[in-house]
Each structure stands twice: as structure tokens, then as C-alpha cells.
Symmetry: C2
Subunit: 229 residues, 2 copies
DNA sequence: CACAACAAACAGACCGTTCGGTCTTTTTGT
DNA sequence: ACAAAAAGACCGAACGGTCTGTTTGTTGTG
């Protein structure tokens, strides 16, 4: 084993390029391993089925390591929810960026949001947390923050990228909210639905959405950068 | 599940004045007590939190009585789901009958469905079962039957009571499906939403719905009777 | 530079509790 | 008398959380 000669300052960022794994790196890696495993377990086994045993098995980490990093299972869930939030933002940004360059109509928008979010593991996890939050006040508070900031960002990008048609009866902001609810409800029913009904439902909603609003002509692509973060 | 007044003929001492409960009555009563308690526990504690202890405490029935009537917890859940189905049909019939006599527009329809179904305990239970069914194939099969027959009845009454407006882009049947999904997604987000947003969302959807279809002029009230049962 | 001393990260045994399901016993209706 | 119904003790498994012991990286001192 190689020895690290440079005695660094007390609390510096280890510059991310240590030849040997520093303590901070070890810590960070196992933490994210556990958090990722937790999200995966939530998607596979559900909220109630996600226990310490499942998480440490999925993360291939000892029970002691888990206990060293997280005081309780509830705390792990809360941190995992925050971890999930980062993924949601990342994925959302990717979808929006894609829709900016390919000037999409409502159909493309609906399909992209469905495929990238509501038909993905992210939504499975979010659904589990959302249902569980009805009995766990701490989790509910966390999700309230999450959805609040997400909604704010979404409102901003919506009002600058879409405009209502003359015959519309609803604003684009509310239409996007309705889209979220339609797709969420659809994702719940999807496992029970016959083949093909899903695409028909998505198409129906896309038609309805397209009859109410349209995307503004891309005035300046730079503005869309403000939606990030 | 019919309560029989027991026109017994065998024994010479029926004692019409004696309020002594027959075996069949005892059996039926404890069974429904347990089933009702199960649904209530599902609404209060959720699927994972509904165990034998909670059910027997809620039903005020001994553990042995439970074991005598139900072979396992899974079987109890399945029967409770069937029990719930009966309630859903009953409530649905009441809402439809009410809407028939008070010739309602889309706004009244949406509000009635929200209040009578999606904001009630029935939806809480159904949501728990729906989410749990993703990991329990037997439950998923049961719910598939339920939603299938419900959808068939709903389709029939929809196409005979509503007609699309000239400018509509979607059929009433699909609009009603979309309504189900909107309200389901809304019911999920409702606990996290600020005060007042809920009513605005319901109103927005009602406006959208009203711009697509209208109720047929009540041609004959007798036809609506076919929707029941 | 070497090495002791320390602290953080890790590993897994252990404990009290709770769960679903089975058992025996007692009550109740026929 | 007999059988169905009800009551509750009992059991093994699984859970979350705590405990003690071991490894690994960091740091102070000669």
C-alpha cells in the first residue's frame, strides 16, 4: 500500500483525486450505495417491504455500516427521499431540454413525460413514499417541500414556454397540473388495464391538451436555461 | 350476504319471541364484523399496518374467532376487497341516481363524484389495495375483475347519458376514464396541497369536461334504471 | 521517516418486540 | 350428545435497534 505524504489542511475538500481512498470517499461511497439501494428496494418491495435486511443486502453493506451512517430506518427513508428529489430534478431537466430543441406538440410532451417519469422506477418510488406519507408526518413534510419547489420551477417554465389557445377554458399552468394527475392515476391503473388501453388513454389526453394550449414559438433558447436548478 | 329471518321448521321450540341467535346468524355477523373492521383498518393504518391484531381489536372479536372464519390474512384481504366492491357499486348507484334526477352539468358531476367517492374512506381503502396489488398477484387479479365489471357498467351509463359537444376532441367514455384518473391523482396529492388549490383543480377539470361533453336531455328516466346493480 | 495513538468506518452477534398462524380449551346452538 | 363457534395461550420467524469487537485511515511526536 502506498502512503500519502502530503499532510493536507484540516477541513479541505479532498480534491476528489486521492490515489488511495480517503475516509471521506469511503464514507460518501457507502452512503450513496445505501441510499441507492434504498430507492431500489422501495421500487421492488414497496415501502413496507423495505427493511434494514433488504437494504443492506441490496447495497452489499454490513448491518453495522448501515447503523454507523443512519440512526434509524425512518431517517434513512427521509434521506432517500431527498436523494430521489435530486434524480427527479435531473430527469426533469433532461426532458425539458429535449423538448426545447425538438419543438414538440402536446402529444410529444405527454409521451415524453410518461416514458421518462411516470413509467420509470422514479415514479414507483415516489408513489410508495406518497402513499406512506399519509401515515408518517415527517415524510409528508419532506414530500411537501419537494413538490412545492418542483411545482414552482414547473410553473415558471410552463408559463414561458406554453400559451393558451383562443378557445381554451383553462390556463397552461393548470393544464400541466392536470397532466400530472392524469398520468399519476394512469400509472396506478396501468397494471390492471388491458393491452393497448394505455396508449389510447395517453393519446386522448394529448388530444385534449393540444386543444387547449400550444407551445410558444421558440423565441430564445437561452431563457429555458433559467428553469434549471 | 342476505340476512335471513330464519323461517325454521325443524325444532318444535322456535320461540318466535326468543331473540336467541341462530348459528348462521352468529357466523354471518362475526364475518361481516371482521370484514368491515378490515376495511376500516385499511383506511386508517394502511395495507401494511393492517394485521390480525388491529382487525380483531377493531371488530372486538377474539383471535380464535378470526382464525375460525379466515384461513389466512391474505384470504381475509381478498374477501375484504370483494366486500368493498359491493360498497362501491352501492355508492356509485346512489350518485348516478342523484345525478339523474338533478340534471347536472359537468361541475356538479365532478363535485359529486369527488365528494362521494374520492374524498371518502372507500377511496382510501381502494388506494391501499391498488398499491399493494403491485406485489400481490392474487390481489391484482381480484382488483382486475372489480375494475373490469365496474368499467363496463360505467361505459353503458355514460354513453346513454352523455353526448360529445360539436367541438369535442374526445368521446365521453374516454372523458369519464380521464376523470377517474384526474381525481385519483388529485386524491393522492390532496394531503400535500395548500388550502384552496383543491377546489381550483376540481373547477378546472369541470370546465374542461364541460367544454367537451354535455348530458343528454333526459329522454326517459326509466332507462337509467338499467344502470343499477 | 517511523510508529504509536486516535478516530472513523465497518462487521456481525445479540435483544426485546411484534407478526401470522396453530394449538387446546371453553362456550353456545341444535 | 354432538358440532359449530369462540377464546386465548403458544410458537417460530422476522423486524428494528443496540452492543461489542475489528479493520482502516489520519495525525501527533520522536
Amino acid at each position: 500500500m502506498t502512503r500519502k505524504p502530503a499532510p493536507k489542511k484540516k477541513k479541505p475538500k479532498p480534491a476528489a483525486r486521492a490515489p488511495r481512498r480517503s475516509q471521506a470517499e469511503r464514507r460518501d461511497e457507502t452512503r450513496t450505495r445505501i441510499l441507492d439501494a434504498t430507492l431500489h428496494c422501495l421500487a421492488i418491495h414497496g415501502y413496507a417491504g423495505t427493511g434494514v435486511a433488504q437494504v443492506v443486502a441490496q447495497a452489499r453493506v454490513s448491518r453495522g455500516a448501515w447503523a454507523h451512517h443512519f440512526p434509524s430506518m425512518n431517517a434513512l427513508i427521509l434521506e432517500a427521499a431527498q436523494h430521489l428529489m435530486a434524480r427527479v430534478y435531473e430527469r426533469l431537466g433532461a426532458v425539458l431540454r429535449e423538448l426545447v430543441q425538438a419543438d414538440g406538440d402536446a402529444h410529444r410532451l405527454v409521451l415524453a413525460v410518461w416514458r421518462e417519469f411516470f413509467a420509470s422506477e422514479v415514479n414507483e418510488v415516489y408513489l410508495e413514499l406518497l402513499v406512506a406519507s399519509r401515515r408518517e408526518p415527517g415524510l409528508a413534510e419532506k414530500l411537501k417541500q419537494l413538490s412545492f419547489t418542483l411545482e414552482r420551477n414547473l410553473d415558471a417554465v410552463t408559463s414561458q414556454r406554453f400559451e393558451p389557445l383562443p378557445s381554451a377554458v383553462t390556463e397552461p399552468i393548470e393544464l400541466l397540473l392536470l397532466t400530472r394527475w392524469v398520468l399519476r392515476g394512469l400509472a396506478l391503473d396501468a397494471p390492471l388495464m388491458p393491452e393497448g388501453h394505455l396508449d389510447r388513454a395517453l393519446a386522448a389526453w394529448a388530444r385534449l391538451l393540444g386543444s387547449q394550449m400550444r407551445s410558444k414559438s421558440a423565441t430564445s433558447a437561452k431563457d429555458s436555461a433559467a428553469a434549471r436548478q
